[in-house]
């Protein structure tokens, strides 16, 4: 009876948490779990052995009552390599505008990243009205750009916007899925994922191969090991890696199993010592 009485407050608390979390988080996984494979990263200008064929996405979105509706446009890959997401009313729409035109296109890379290199494609994101007037968004609207790194297991990266020929880092956090990162933006332009270390011209590869990526399931994995998903505008330390080494996970699992075994054996011995010759009643 007491348990059933507890059910209602627990359900209510759960409901409150869910609603609060969904409203507060700029990005959340689709629901609560799932098994979602990731397709290989497609390049505009593929390095040797990597697949090409990166494409963009466009959308014409009608303005409603002078305000922007929900804007959610994504490139067609799974998961999308570039996305823009704006909540209703998030974009500043010029008076009289009837349509919001969104275009996401991969473009040849340019510009210099001072700390790290561009990982994957540069995406040009244009958001205009029907007259070509560029739209902006207040920071409070949390209009977001989401870009996917080439490595689905990558934990840390920074989304940067090309400004006056150089990549300006934006406050970036993990989107929680497959090496994708999210930044709140106030204006649009060219965006790219910047990762630490030398670029592909000096490194052997720029992350895992396409086949690796294809076989890996959703893996924000990394945020777990990196101690959190929030990144900052702080300079990217050269030589930083995408989280702890992979081999650490099985080692930790083995250690945990050994500890569990030791705890179990210890408990069993104590139990035998304590109750040897002193049978007790079953509860």
């Amino acid at each position: 009876m007491a348990r059933r009485n507890l059910a209602l407050p627990v359900l209510g608390a759960g409901l409150l948490f869910i609603v609060a979390a969904r409203l507060a988080l700029p990005a959340a996984p689709p629901l609560y779990d799932g098994v979602v494979p990731i397709t290989p990263y497609l390049w505009l200008d593929p390095p040797p052995g990597e697949p090409g064929g990166a494409t963009g996405a466009t959308a014409d979105i009608p303005v409603r009552s002078g305000k922007s509706p929900l804007v959610a446009v994504a490139t067609p890959e799974l998961e999308p390599q570039a996305q823009i997401f704006g909540p209703p009313g998030g974009l500043t729409v010029p008076p009289g505008a009837r349509t919001i035109k969104v275009a996401i296109q991969p473009v040849p890379g340019e510009g210099v990243a001072t700390d790290g290199h561009v990982d994957g494609n540069v995406y040009r994101i244009a958001v205009t009205d029907e007259n070509g007037t560029a739209l902006t968004a207040p920071a409070s609207a949390r209009v977001s750009v989401v870009l996917r790194a080439t490595d689905p297991a990558r934990a840390e990266a920074t989304i940067a916007r090309l400004s006056a020929g150089s990549w300006q880092p934006l406050k970036t956090s993990s989107s929680g899925f497959g090496g994708s990162f999210i930044s709140v933006v106030t204006e649009f332009g060219d965006f790219a994922v910047i990762v630490p270390g030398p670029g592909p011209s000096t490194a052997a590869t720029a992350g895992p191969t396409a086949s690796d990526a294809a076989s890996v399931v959703a893996s924000g994995l990394s945020a777990a090991s990196s101690g959190g998903s929030a990144l900052s505008n702080a300079p990217i330390p050269p030589g930083d890696t995408s989280g702890p080494p992979v081999w650490l996970a099985p080692v930790l699992v083995v250690l945990v199993l050994l500890l569990a075994l030791a705890a179990y054996r210890g408990a069993t011995r104590r139990r035998r010592r304590r109750y040897q010759g002193h049978p007790i009643r079953r509860r």
Binding site: L25, A28, P30, V217, L221, A249
Partner: protein, 194 residues
């Protein structure tokens, strides 16, 4: 009543064993995913089997609960889906996973049920007996949130904590794992369309 038996190991040893096993299975899934040893469906299948082993290894057997559990589970899952739809403005646009539908459905249901078997089943009952119902609710909900961190990142902890509480509430209301398992599966399956 008067049967003679060994006293079970300490109050928290058995729950600790389950939590350890759960951590090991989650860790293995993480390692398999990072290493890219197999596709998502295969990894999910192995993950589910691991959870079932952890849940049943302690000798725990499922409590099915009341007859109304199925209906309560469907309603509980629908509430989660509706909440996701209603609060969609704060969510990224997601597309249907490209895996073949039938295997994906099967594994998703299996994994959701296996998670419930361990958390709202074996572990919940052990904690309920040893440290009380409220502690069982809180610990299983926190673990539910934490076990999703490797897959989605830390920022989903508040959301999954809420979902954990919701599922625990269904467990309390029906007395078995059928309702939370169905609700969990319904919510996960909705990702194909949402």
């Amino acid at each position: 009543m008067t049967a003679i038996a060994l006293r079970p190991p300490g109050r928290v040893v058995r729950p600790a064993m389950i939590i350890t096993g759960l951590a090991a299975v989650v860790g293995l899934r993480w390692a398999a995913t990072v290493a890219g040893v197999a596709g998502g469906v295969a990894v999910g299948l192995v993950f589910g089997f691991g959870l079932v082993v952890v849940g049943l290894a302690t000798g725990w057997r499922p409590l099915l609960g009341r007859r109304s559990s199925i209906a309560v589970g469907v309603v509980g899952g629908t509430v989660l889906v509706v909440l996701a739809l209603v609060t969609r403005s704060g969510q990224l646009p997601w597309l249907a996973p490209p895996a073949a539908f039938i295997p994906w459905v099967a594994v998703t249901i299996f994994v959701a049920s296996a998670e419930e078997l361990v958390l709202r089943g074996a572990l919940f009952d052990e904690l309920d007996r040893s440290v009380g119902t409220l502690a069982a609710v809180l610990v299983t909900s926190v673990l539910f949130a934490l076990m999703h961190v490797p897959l989605y990142g830390w920022h989903v902890v508040p959301l999954d904590l809420g979902v954990g509480l919701w599922l625990a509430g269904l467990r309390l209301a029906t007395g078995g794992i059928v309702a939370p398992a169905i609700a969990h599966a319904v919510a996960d399956l909705a990702t194909w369309w949402l």
